[in-house]
């Protein structure tokens, strides 16, 4: 990662919501090809969808509503897996009540809506068999739906399983129909199960019902969200259009079934691939056109508006033309031109264009050959933003202006969606036949926990705003800083004078912080990564405390090679700064202050603290992420506090070769961390609280069955005679609910420290939401905490306040962050290793926050 990207990352840590508009899957700003690629794969990744996408080519339409069920079934199962896990009943102290009571109550509006249905509502699951057996799902559906017994009932059918809201008269119903070819098909419908409304299967069916409803509101599903192509928002100066849309879900919250919706946008470019190619051809000339074209287009995601599906361009076939024929599934040959005419009534105008090739995702457990889809450039629209576009400040600003919705804007959009659902007769009819009624928006009471004081060396400071206390602590000395005596600055000829003025500024601000910085040895090197690395190899000796590199450009290799060498081969803390950052004259003081703080931490210093009432408490943060180079390597970062004040940390990163996001190595880490604690405190901690981030949908069970036992066994081994109590909390930055406060007839973001532990939580879990970040623009997103294991028996009040306190301790930002500091440290560590180092950093650095 370049220095600039690091600065960016710091910014994001501060308020993710400011940059993040919708939900992740629906991120309207695919930053890079990779991200948009995910999006395409998510839309192609499921059983039904991939079949349909080929149908577009092979000429079978699949538009009937019944097909929606299986379409998303595979993915849904993962989401619903978590629901069957009940952790709260095992935790005696919260079995009766998991809500806290301290703090000032605050009235909050949510993006959740009541969904009412009769008390005795039930879902009936039937199994349908066909004699003779039919392979085509479409035919199966058509035959079944044509029967009068079923035609006016609310139903969902995937070709084998049929859900009805009303029971059929007989347990086994036999029907027969005739196909167009004159065959008689016998259908047997057998009742399998009666499901109460709380069953996970029901929730799955509810989600399917709402997908149908959104389709009836003429919205299209792209990925997992629904967008409305008929009301695009145009950004003509950048040839972009945004489709507004929603991410929706139905699930069981604390007491009842609720519908939740969040606003999301899809960014599209108003340019077809053919237009792009023509423009490119004019720019580059014919000679290297194909090469340039492949370079620029391959890997991009396109959307075909005739069916609103996304594909990734995997190849370009220059030998195939639209006038060529292909074989449809029934064996007949047809030209592409005729196919599009027949199927979609689209006339292809350019008959000489090459064809785009997209590799379709294969079915699970299917070892057949990869299937390719040919797409016509004229009909494909580019989606997402290229790297070039994302670095265009004006463009991103224009997009952000449209997508960054204020709480009141968001509230209006939600109100309109609800209105549409209730007014549209088709949608209302669908709801009514299922016996459902769309209710009112949920409002609930949250609590604002008291703000925290920041403890400095000889001063206790009550910040004006917990979002940023850099001004409040300007005159205070930091808790503890090692003095920096022998160190190096590496810079190039061009950046030498910047380095000098920066050094001067750094010494001044460091002095007032209580951090003594001596003159370094300044080494001038040539402007290439090799020169930097060689100079480091040459000049770094065991006495050197820190190496600072002033990088001439944000080329990734500079940062990567320096960090790689200095974090594993030759473990010395390092600080990379972009020369461009130092050129900002007006900001020199604040830049120098930030860098001085980072350097203090890298040398093992402590910046500030908050009051922690629990004595002898160790907090641990765990995060995982995939290595950027080899996708089968998981990087697990673990960070544990090693003093009772929670200001010093032991950080370790472990690489493991697995495909899952589950950590294998927690025992090794925990044992190491407990040893460290023992070394510093001559005793073991009495309590351990582990914050685990990076948990995806459907992983809760694995976590409880696999990771928690690892932690428990290491704890048990280290403390044979003393009792050591452990809690494990899952931290999620992405969650569906949003909260607004109502004030002066308008809605606003709730204040910092707002805790929600009722209604929007789940009954079977010990969970809560905490707002520990500020969104200057846009809507703040709460962080979701789920306590999956708890020996400590802290009162919910205390658990919530402790979590809030820990959000203040991230030393890379003088303000509160969205997750507890150990999680943010672990995230930072895994990011560095996954992006730059690709191997385990040396343990000699484990006592410093060398990765800040």
């Amino acid at each position: 990662m370049s220095g600039r990207a690091r600065v960016k990352a710091r910014g994001i840590a501060r308020s993710p919501s400011a940059t993040e508009v919708g939900r992740t899957q629906a991120s309207p700003l695919p930053r890079s090809v990779d991200l948009s690629n995910n999006e395409a794969s998510s839309s192609n990744g499921f059983l039904g969808t991939s079949r349909i996408s080929t149908n577009d080519i092979y000429g079978i339409s699949s538009g009937d509503a019944g097909s929606t069920f299986m379409e998303r079934g595979v993915k849904n199962k993962q989401d619903f897996m978590d629901l069957s896990i009940c952790t709260r009943e095992k935790l005696a102290h919260v079995r009766n009540c998991k809500t806290g009571s301290s703090g000032i109550p605050v009235k909050l509006v949510t993006n959740l809506f009541n969904l009412d249905f009769p008390q005795d509502w039930q879902l009936y699951q039937y199994h349908v068999t066909y004699i003779p057996d039919l392979a085509s799902r479409r035919l199966r559906i058509a035959l079944l739906y044509s029967h009068s017994e079923l035609s006016n009932k609310a139903k969902a059918f995937d070709g084998a399983i049929l859900f009805l809201s009303q029971k059929l008269e007989e347990k086994v119903t036999e029907l027969s129909s005739e196909t167009q070819r004159g065959e008689t098909i016998k259908m047997t419908i057998t009742l399998k199960r009666e499901l109460p409304s709380s069953s996970p299967v029901c929730i799955q069916v509810f989600n399917i019902i709402f997908r149908k409803i959104l389709k009836k509101l003429s919205m299209y599903q792209i990925g997992r969200n629904f967008y409305n192509p008929s009301e695009p928002m145009e950004i003509p100066q950048h040839k972009l259009s945004l489709w507004p849309g929603f991410a929706i879900s139905v699930s069981y919250f604390e007491r009842k079934l609720l519908f939740s919706a969040d606003v999301s946008y899809k960014v599209l470019r108003n340019e077809t691939v053919l237009e792009f190619m023509t423009a490119l051809c004019q720019r580059t000339g014919l000679s290297c056109f194909t090469q340039m074209c492949e370079k620029q287009l391959i890997g991009l995601i396109v959307l075909t508006r005739y069916n609103n599906r996304t594909y990734s361009i995997d190849d370009i076939d220059w030998s195939v033309k639209p006038t060529h024929t292909f074989q449809k599934r029934d064996g007949t040959e047809i030209t592409y031109v005729d196919y599009y005419k027949q199927q979609y009534d689209i006339t292809v105008s350019d008959l000489n264009q090459p064809m785009l090739v997209s590799l379709l995702k294969r079915k699970r457990n299917d070892n057949s050959e990869a299937r390719l889809a040919h797409l016509i450039p004229e009909l494909c629209f580019l989606t997402g933003l290229t790297g070039q576009a994302t670095s265009d400040f004006q463009l991103m600003k224009a997009v952000a202006e449209k997508t960054r919705l204020s709480p009141s804007g968001r509230q209006q959009r939600l109100a309109r969606l609800v209105d549409d659902i209730q007014r549209n007769t088709n949608a209302r009819f669908e709801l009514e036949t299922w016996g459902l009624h769309f209710g009112s928006q949920i409002s609930l009471t949250g609590r604002i926990v008291p703000s925290e004081k920041i403890l400095m060396q000889d001063h206790i400071c009550q910040p004006v705003s917990a979002a940023d206390w850099s001004k409040d602590i300007r005159t205070c000395k930091i808790l503890n800083a090692q003095s920096l005596n022998t160190w190096l600055i590496l810079c190039s000829d061009r950046t030498e004078h910047v380095a000098e003025s920066f050094l001067n500024c750094l010494r001044r601000v460091a002095g007032s912080m209580g951090f003594n910085v001596d003159y370094p040895k300044i080494i001038k090197v040539q402007e290439n990564p090799a020169a930097f690395v060689r100079a480091i190899q040459q000049y770094v000796d065991p006495d050197i405390q820190l190496v600072m590199c002033i990088l001439p450009s944000n080329q990734k290799t500079y940062y990567d090679s320096i960090k790689k060498y200095l974090s594993s081969d030759c473990p010395v803390p390092s600080q990379c700064v972009l020369a461009r950052t130092l050129n900002k004259q007006g900001m020199m003081m604040s830049i120098a202050t930030k860098i001085a703080m980072q350097m203090t931490c890298k040398l093992g210093g402590e910046l500030w603290a908050v009051e922690i009432p629990l004595k002898s408490l160790m907090v641990v943060g765990i995060d995982v992420c995939k290595d950027a180079l080899s996708k089968d390597v998981m990087v697990v970062g673990c960070v544990a506090s090693v003093n009772p004040g929670i200001t010093r940390w032991f950080s370790r990163c472990i690489l493991q070769r697995t495909m899952t996001d589950v950590a294998d190595c927690l025992k090794v880490f925990m044992t190491g961390a407990l040893n460290k604690w023992y070394k510093y405190n001559h005793d073991l901690p009495a309590r351990i609280i582990v914050y685990r981030a990076g948990v995806g949908d459907g992983q809760l069970k694995t976590l409880i069955e696999y990771e928690v036992p690892q932690l428990l066994s290491s704890v048990a081994e280290s403390s044979s005679n003393t009792s050591l109590r452990l809690s494990v909390i899952v931290v999620r930055k992405k969650c569906m609910p949003r909260f607004f406060t109502e004030m002066n007839c308008t809605v606003q973001n709730p204040p910092l420290g707002t805790v929600v532990d009722s209604e929007a939580t789940r009954n079977e879990w010990y969970d809560f939401y905490l707002i520990s970040q500020v969104a200057c623009r846009g809507t703040v997103s709460p962080t979701y905490y789920n306590v999956i294991y708890d020996d400590n028996g802290l009162k919910p009040d205390h658990m919530q306040r402790l979590t809030f306190k820990l959000c203040h301790l991230y030393y890379n930002w003088p303000g509160i962050v969205s997750v507890p500091a150990p999680c943010q440290y672990a995230h930072k560590l895994t990011f560095l290793v996954a992006q730059s180092i690709h191997k385990e950093p040396s343990l000699e650095l484990a006592n410093h926050l060398f990765y800040l």
Binding site: D315, N367, I523, A530
Partner: protein, 403 residues
């Protein structure tokens, strides 16, 4: 009715083999079924019956440490002179398992190495990967971009696979006789093996190379010398270092010119450097340029004009009461004097031969010294002060001798 014969699995025969022994022990075993309870424990542990001689049943993937005696390396001397070949082949990514073509070989590197001599010869070539399977262009492109960055098409340096393989064979086996074993890192083994087979298919030359892993080689050498086995983690950390990444004469010309770290030749050479650096020294071998890229480190002792140490602290002390400071005048001071640098001490104007003196550039110092012939001997003195691990105090001393 289940197929009865299916029950005759390996365990059945194992038990059957055990029956005589059990009878000898006086146990009442008439049939295999009777013997099963007595054999389960033995089944769990590996048994060295004459049939299970080590090396005979060892699966291919899990290559055992090469038996040094088979390499006819008796004693240190033989080990030191023993020649190893390190080979690596890069591919444009790895295609999914259902594809017939799993890899697209694009670069090959190989070095001939012995502990005594270091790198004796190297071989490098780009390979024409052939036609990219339709639909996988993006996949291959992305894989290439994230590592070696070799273009997937229109790359005129790529040689025909048959030619490359022939050249490789000529390199590792110039004279008739036994083919030497070839080593690569265990992580790369599948790929290299696949690529060798694939290229052999294309060229219709049949020669099954014995591909072993470097990790096992290190274990072998270590065992031979110290009669104990090193840990895998130690070996991995030994082989996986970043310090030679930018060493000169390590990457192939193309990768060096384009400043890309991932190079097949560099991987092989770095294996050689790592082994030299950690093992050859244990044998008491004097490292030469063939063992590790020493030239980088020798070159660094003589100061190149582009790379100069500026020691501000030293200068601070020197400045006070130093009358000979005017040597430090620079020609480019005008452009620098207008940069605002706050209260930096060196900004202070110092009177001397040149009134607007500024800066602590040793470049300028050196220039001025080298310009004045009378200072030549002092330059040499200064030079030593610039050596990397000189303490600040010493540096100060040698500096003061200048004035």
């Amino acid at each position: 009715m289940p197929n009865r014969k299916a029950s005759r699995n390996a365990y059945y025969f194992f038990v059957q083999e055990k029956i005589p022994e059990l009878r000898r022990r006086g146990l009442p075993v008439a049939r295999v079924a009777d013997a099963i309870p007595y054999c389960s424990a033995d089944w769990a542990k590996p048994v060295f019956t004459p049939l299970r001689r080590p090396g005979m049943l060892v699966p291919k993937q899990n290559v055992s440490p090469p038996d040094m005696s088979t390499l006819s390396l008796k004693g240190d001397q033989a080990l030191l002179g023993g020649i190893f070949y390190f080979l690596n082949i890069f591919s444009h990514g790895e295609l999914p398992p259902h594809c017939e073509q799993r890899f697209l070989p694009c670069e090959i590197g190989c070095v001939k190495y012995s502990l005594q001599e270091g790198i004796m010869a190297d071989f490098h070539s780009f390979i024409n990967p052939g036609k990219i399977p339709r639909g996988f262009r993006f996949h291959c492109q992305a894989a290439s971009d994230s590592s070696h960055k070799i273009p997937i098409s229109n790359f005129e340096r790529g040689h025909n696979q048959a030619t490359v393989l022939q050249n490789l064979y000529r390199f590792i086996h110039p004279n008739p006789g036994n083919w030497p074993p070839i080593y690569c890192k265990s992580d790369d083994r599948t790929r290299v093996n696949w690529c060798l087979k694939h290229m052999a298919k294309a060229s219709e030359i049949r020669q099954d190379l014995q591909l072993l892993t470097v990790e096992d080689l290190v274990v072998g050498i270590y065992q031979q010398k110290f009669l104990k086995e090193p840990s895998k983690t130690w070996i991995r950390s030994l082989l996986d270092v970043a310090m030679w990444d930018y060493s000169s004469n390590t990457r192939c010309k193309w990768h060096e010119e384009n400043d890309i770290l991932f190079c097949a030749l560099a991987v092989c050479k770095k294996i050689a450097y790592c082994i030299s650096n950690s093992l050859a020294t244990l044998f008491g071998i004097q490292l030469t340029e063939a063992h590790v890229p020493l030239q980088d480190y020798e070159a660094s002792n003589s100061v190149t004009p582009k790379m100069v140490v500026l020691d501000a602290g030293r200068y601070q002390k020197l400045r006070v009461g130093s009358s000979g400071f005017s040597h430090f005048n620079s020609s480019n001071q005008e452009q620098r004097s207008n940069t605002p640098i706050g209260d930096y001490p060196s900004r202070a104007k110092i009177s001397g031969q040149n009134s607007s003196v500024r800066g602590r550039g040793i470049t300028r110092l050196l220039e001025s010294i080298s310009n004045s012939s009378s200072n030549i001997h002092k330059f040499a003195n200064c030079d030593t002060s610039l050596s990397p691990y000189m303490s600040q105090k010493d540096g100060y001393k040698s500096f003061s001798s200048l004035s």
